[in-house]
């Protein structure tokens, strides 16, 4: 009896540190945010009423979803061919590509965001190109929704590449070869064999990028415009400038729930259990 139960006990013991860590550092503060949203400065649902009645917040939430969706799709389109090459090409090129993605991954978000300030700036390479080619005045790039989206796509690209690469590197070349030998064209082989096998990577990467972009702050703040303001920027203003922690908490709760709903729908459609393979 005692012996039969042992593996379970061992599992619990192994899980305990991570569980305790999560409860103290993640669940407890989250519960506090939830409590604040209903109690600060007094007990009421006024904050939530305001979030859903003043047009600003739902609009900003919409902008946030839109940005997260755009960045996810852009990352997927850019990362898929790259990860494909990385996984299929053996030897030096694969290692070089992996190193490039890795270095970009490990470089600080802030540094990479600031680099866009230079690239898009009036004395940056794009401005210089316009000048040397005599194309006239450069279109305004900095402090636009475009710059913000571009910056976030750049920051999130390595996440998508890694997620795809992890899955693609395990897809055996033999599967595709088998398809070829059975008469499939290269495109048909890709469509019917390779792509379905790479889907867990697509799902995983998209979810990762989407969820992170939903909470982005620094990049839209530094590169974006008032029109492209995201929900976390509003939360930060409430926390820092207005000291309105109750309202900020309510916004955070709405963001969390909204993101949760999207992930829930995604789970229904795509099946999150596929994330961890079969």
């Amino acid at each position: 009896m005692a012996l039969a139960r042992r593996p379970e006990i061992v599992a619990w013991v192994l899980l305990a540190p991570a569980t305790i860590y999560l409860v103290i550092l993640f669940v407890a503060p989250l519960v506090q945010v939830l409590i604040l949203s209903f109690t600060d400065p007094k007990v009421s649902t006024a904050h939530f009423v305001r979030v859903f009645t003043a047009p600003l917040y739902l609009r900003t939430l919409g902008v946030t979803f839109q940005a997260a969706f755009t960045v996810t799709v852009a990352c997927l389109l850019l990362a898929y061919p790259l990860a494909y090459v990385m996984a299929r090409v053996k030897g030096r090129l694969g290692i070089i590509l992996l190193a490039i993605v890795g270095i970009s991954f490990w470089t600080s978000f802030l540094v990479r965001t600031y680099s866009w300030l230079i690239i898009f700036g009036n004395r940056g390479p794009i401005a210089a190109l316009y000048e040397t080619m005599g194309w006239g005045e450069m279109p305004r790039l900095l402090f636009t929704a475009f710059a913000s989206t571009m910056g976030m796509t750049h920051l999130m690209l390595p996440y998508m590449v890694m997620a795809l690469y992890a899955v693609m590197s395990r897809i055996e070349d033999n599967y595709v070869r088998a398809a070829h030998s059975l008469g499939a064209t290269p495109f048909a082989a890709f469509r019917t064999v390779y792509f379905p096998l790479s889907l867990p990577g697509v799902i995983n990467g998209s979810l990762l990028v989407f969820a992170i972009v939903m909470g982005f702050y620094v990049t839209p703040q530094l590169l974006g415009s008032p029109q492209s303001r995201m929900i976390s920027q509003i939360v930060a203003e409430q926390v820092q400038d207005l000291l309105a922690w109750g309202f900020a908490s309510a916004l955070a709760v709405v963001l969390l729930v909204a993101t949760g709903i999207v992930i829930g729908i995604y789970n229904r459609v795509a099946g999150l259990d596929r994330l961890w393979g079969d």
């Binding site: 003043a54 047009p55 600003l56 609009r59 900003t60 902008v63 700036g121 009036n122 004395r123 305004r140 402090f143 703040q221 415009s225 008032p226 029109q227 303001r229 509003i234 203003e237 926390v239 820092q240 400038d241 207005l242 000291l243 309105a244 922690w245 309202f247």
Partner: protein, 355 residues
């Protein structure tokens, strides 16, 4: 200092003896905590050229006079102040802030009441505001490029709004009450009638200029970059930044003091700070005529101590918001009126410029 007496357990005993051993080894070079507390003060500051100016004009003379060493913590966030007071853990002791936030912080009980046993009220030459000592005035005003307007540029907010007479790319500060104040003036309100803001009137006037505003800036260095690089031709920006762009960075430009928005910032001690005595001495020191004048000579903000102008030449004074001729033609936001409405105004503002 100690919160409660705890029975000595084996672990705390071990910790304690380890600390004693370590201290014994390092002894000649360490200051014990109790001494350190009165001999150092941590100032919350913005960093960059601001902190460099503070260091030169305020921190060094203060340390020389009192022996209290100054450390700094950046950046300035009101949220941190609130956390400090709530948790009783102090990363910094003193800071300075601007009116809407100051009033907010004081209303929430985050500011230590001024201690007039340390601060000599009879010798004080600066205004007292919300438990803070007035330090400098900051102006946000119109700056234009003289290469774009060689025959004289816009001289008022009515001119800024006049896109036929002064064609060019415009740029405004993404701060609701500042722009709404300008809109009131552009619509013909007198300087002393800007507040209380007529919100409907001001928003209506803002709607006229909105499509001509190329950028809404949010950070000080961004405003400088926009006007210096010629990306915009006229801008509402902080006066000291404008002066720096023209004098130091050689931008062909003009600062317009007429109808500037100007308000004072104040120094305060965080409520419950363990070093509040040193903090009170510090804020009393930095608003004295000389250190304050020295600060404003490095960064041309306006000293709120009128005696500071004894140490400032007329040439230098003309760069400052509190120079008498400039102060006369500026307006000051009414923080008492603004504070209870700030949330609504900001909300309406953000919706307005986002759509």
């Amino acid at each position: 200092m100690t919160k409660s007496m705890k029975p000595t357990t084996r672990r705390t005993f071990l910790k304690g003896s380890a600390a004693v051993a370590a201290a014994a080894v390092a002894m000649p070079n360490v200051i014990t905590p109790s001494r350190a507390q009165s001999k150092e003060l941590i100032v919350n500051t913005w960093g960059g050229s601001w902190t460099a100016a503070e260091n030169e004009s305020l921190f060094k003379p203060f340390t020389a006079k009192t022996g209290i060493a100054i450390k700094t913590a950046t950046p300035v966030t009101y949220a941190k102040l609130k956390v400090q007071v709530q948790t009783g853990n102090y990363e910094w002791d003193v800071s300075n802030a601007n009116p809407p936030q100051l009033k907010l912080a004081n209303a929430e009980g985050l500011i230590e009441p001024l201690d007039f046993n340390i601060i000599d009220k009879s010798k004080l030459r600066v205004p007292i505001y919300e438990n803070t000592l007035g330090f400098i005035a900051l102006s946000t005003l119109l700056v234009y490029r003289t290469d774009k307007f060689p025959n004289g540029g816009p001289q008022s907010w009515a001119d800024f709004w006049n896109v036929e007479k002064f064609p060019g790319r415009r740029c405004l500060y993404d701060r609701a009450f500042t722009c709404l104040g300008y809109a009131m003036l552009a619509d013909g309100a007198a300087l002393d009638k800007v507040y209380p803001l007529d919100l409907d009137r001001a928003f209506k006037k803002m709607a006229e200029i909105k499509k001509h505003v190329r950028v809404w800036w949010t950070q000080g260095n961004q405003s400088q970059q926009l006007i210096q690089d010629g990306e915009v031709d006229m801008i509402a920006m902080w006066s000291a930044r404008g002066v720096e762009s023209i004098e130091k960075n050689k931008m062909p430009g003009q600062v317009v003091w007429n109808q500037a928005e100007s308000y004072g910032s104040g120094w305060y001690v965080a409520k419950g700070s363990p070093r509040k005595e040193a903090g009170m001495r510090f804020i009393d020191f930095v608003v004295q005529a000389k250190p304050l004048a020295d600060f404003c000579k490095i960064l041309p903000y306006g000293p709120l101590n009128p005696d500071s102008f004894q140490f400032i030449s007329d040439e230098e004074g003309k760069r400052m918001p509190t120079y008498p001729a400039h102060a006369k033609i500026a307006f000051t936001p009414d923080a008492d009126w603004l504070l209870p409405r700030l949330h609504d105004i900001n909300e309406r503002w953000k919706q307005f410029i986002a759509t």
